[in-house]
Symmetry: C2
Subunit: 465 residues, 2 copies
């Protein structure tokens, strides 16, 4: 329901906008646009032609224009900047937050960046240059420098005066930060507490001094996860000398959580992650991001082929054996994928830690035994139903041998698959590798080899070929 609504909205919206534009009903168009959210306008604008884009954009009121600009895709942003007059560019840049300006600059080509920096005011340029110095995935790179800072000897009334004076440009005013003379963070106070406090009270007496904060170099994924864990609206970022340099807000944390999960999911499917969305990524880039894993896994799979070849005499004598291979390899892959996926997600959410290694392994072994034995029994019944009257097969091997060989193989393979499926991601975590790489594609390739080895070894031993 919601999906249809969103889809219809976006298309109807666009149609309506273009109709009003072509009929030159600019007043009505502006009225319509101001009722909309910047994200929705940006989405609609991403579909219009290059001649209509600047026309429509110029109709937006200043603040909404800047908000919409920030939500647009990089190509549209670059095109719009080239279409802007210097005055227009300056107007947009004056309205956007420093962290959004940094994101923009990181995506634009060098000539555009120069033009952007030329039209930002000196103070903002200084902040932008500072933020650009932090590593790409750090807290420093995702923070904004626009927060409200207070001094500990201010009264509540003075704080409100300061918020009223400086708050309009701040990304959030709901958490205010108390710093000392050296800009060191010494406390924080929420607007809620300020509102509920007496006007005469001094900040020092009501501020919270047990502060959770992060360093500028902290990994942005860890920062984002703190929002999930502690339900913050913002978190302060300090430099090496505990001086407050910025804040990270919850909206950016949500974006990072979603992006990091998307990256993990791509890695788990043996795809090199990109930042662009699926549709925006070219065929070449998609192919490149997928090719190397496919090649590596294809070549690894020939090992399994080689092992099967080694047992040529066995399956030429008893061809029915080959029929078991897809089932065993498939079950091995599915079992390992189940375990590794649960473990990788648990590690990402920090529900599982390396110290739980033995606990997890013991759990997986028990699950595997339970599942493996039942699968073996069901498979035994299937064999009885399918082959007990099949003279051709029974001439090759007895029903008892068939059931025992495939049953034992199944149990062995399931236990191995689930063990490897939990061991590899946890070891990867311990070795500071990304656990998401130890997922289904790699594991099933490893387990294909193991399955064939286990199956033919058991078959040779029991049937005695």
């Amino acid at each position: 329901m919601e999906e249809n609504w969103m889809e219809l909205e976006a298309e109807e919206l666009l149609q309506e906008m273009l109709t009003l534009l072509h009929e030159k009903k600019i007043g009505k168009l502006r009225e319509m646009l101001t009722t909309l959210n910047a994200v929705d306008i940006a989405q609609a604008l991403s579909e219009v032609s290059e001649t209509e884009l600047p026309l429509l954009f110029r109709i937006l009121p200043k603040e909404l224009a800047a908000e919409t600009f920030i939500e647009m895709d990089n190509d549209s942003q670059e095109f719009l900047i080239s279409a802007f007059s210097d005055k227009e560019l300056k107007e947009v840049l004056d309205e956007i937050y420093v962290d959004d300006a940094v994101d923009l600059i990181e995506e634009m080509p060098a000539t555009v960046v120069k033009r952007i920096l030329r039209h930002t005011n000196p103070e903002m340029r200084k902040d932008i240059n500072q933020l650009l110095k932090y590593p790409k995935d750090s807290a420093g790179s995702m923070m904004t420098t626009e927060y409200v800072d207070l001094k500990k000897n201010m009264t509540v009334a003075e704080c409100f005066a300061r918020i009223r004076r400086t708050g309009v440009d701040k990304e959030t005013i709901y958490t205010c930060y108390v710093t000392d003379r050296d800009r060191r963070l010494i406390g924080l106070v929420s607007v809620k507490e300020l509102l509920l406090a007496d006007e005469e009270q001094v900040i020092e007496d009501i501020m919270e001094t047990n502060i959770t904060y992060v360093g500028t170099l902290e990994d942005r994924e860890d920062v984002a996860r703190m929002f999930d864990r502690y339900d913050f609206l913002a978190i302060p970022v300090v430099d090496g000398e505990d001086r407050l340099v910025g804040i990270v807000t919850v909206d950016d944390a949500i974006d990072v959580l979603q992006e990091e999960t998307t990256e993990d999911i791509a890695k788990m499917a043996a795809v090199v992650p990109t930042e662009e969305s699926y549709l925006k990524t070219t065929v070449w880039t998609h192919a490149r991001n997928r090719f190397f894993w496919l090649l590596f896994l294809m070549l690894s799979a020939t090992v399994t082929g080689g092992i099967i070849q080694k047992y040529e005499d066995a399956f030429v004598a008893i061809p029915i054996l080959v029929a078991f291979v897809p089932m065993l390899m498939g079950t091995a892959g599915n079992c390992s994928s189940q375990s590794s996926t649960m473990i990788i997600r648990g590690l990402a959410l920090e529900e599982i830690k390396f110290k739980d290694f033995l606990k997890v392994l013991w759990k997986e072994v028990r699950i595997a035994l339970l599942v493996g034995v039942i699968l073996a029994l069901v498979n035994g019944v299937r064999l009885l139903l399918m082959y007990s009257n099949n003279a051709e097969v029974l001439a090759q091997v007895s029903m008892f041998q068939l059931i025992v060989v495939s049953g034992l193989s199944l149990i062995g393979i399931v236990v191995l698959a689930k063990s490897i499926g939990c061991i590899l991601p946890m070891l990867a975590k311990k070795c500071k590798l990304d656990p998401a790489l130890m997922a289904a594609p790699l594991l099933s390739t490893i387990l294909d080899t193991c399955s064939v080895l286990i199956f033919f070894s058991i078959a040779m031993a029991i049937i005695g070929i």
Copy 2:
């Protein structure tokens, strides 16, 4: 680094707490606990024994105790409630928000629920009963009824007076909702706007009237995604007659986003999702959640076995053919898993919609051709290197046939795998099924069968067995 810090913290914390408790340094212990975040205290308490748990819990100041209680796992909560006196239970319940109370009640056994309801005040009991009526995954079930409501003829000063009077118990005060006489939502105003406005201004003149809101029955995943899209701190929930009945806050939205992603990831690995964390889930439950998919896929895989059997004459005559099967099946599985994963995630993030069907399919076909042809070439080189001096193999089949058969099979299989990998999730979405079910395990089972069929058909045609 951060992980170690968190791990050490939790364990050191616990140690420190227990030492202080056993030395009866209660004052110091309370001092230490009040510097901590409720989430961290709850985690530490989840490790202590049942005799120590109530002792430690009773040391917490009232408000922190309630916050900590809400963060604990269900077993500890149930145990603590049984250990509480009526007075203690009432104190905790008085401090918690309605939506947290509802979450608690949904997890507790009936006798505990009765005791909880007996000790909540009548107004809260009414709210709880109301919220319990909404379906489990609806906006109604995740909202809270504690918000600030204003009337349109109030001045800014009157609004602040109202916030000061009623705000202390509200989950958020930063967005205030303006309702008419029939409780219908007619506007909203942020505390930031109130602070920046003149004290004498009337709310009607400054409130935002273009409001994004949701209905009580809206799917909670869609609601959560609106926070991701629009960067809200809270979103109002209205009933069938547009009356404001509650709000959803961003912290709950983050939880839902994370939970829904975890569910999707589990489904993509052919595991039935649970709400409990990995370590809290019993071996039986894990086994049950994994078994049926494994059984279904194992039995489906026997179809592939059956098809191989059909080509018994072919591979008994040319045993080298069997050696290609793992490579072809593996590549098919990996290709389909890459495509389906990217599509499923794109659909979940609403970056891809059903109307993009043909665009996506055409993209995947081109990616597949590109990747397939290069893989076929690499594979050809590998065959030349491995078998050009292998008389046994060359007695069965010519090098040219080997390269052409495996190359054509590879290309065909890759194109099929990537096509099915994008078609099935998109069709599932269209049919209101969960696209996450159309992931690697199911697809690779389907593609195993297709791979074997394609490979042996091409082999029969070209080698002419």
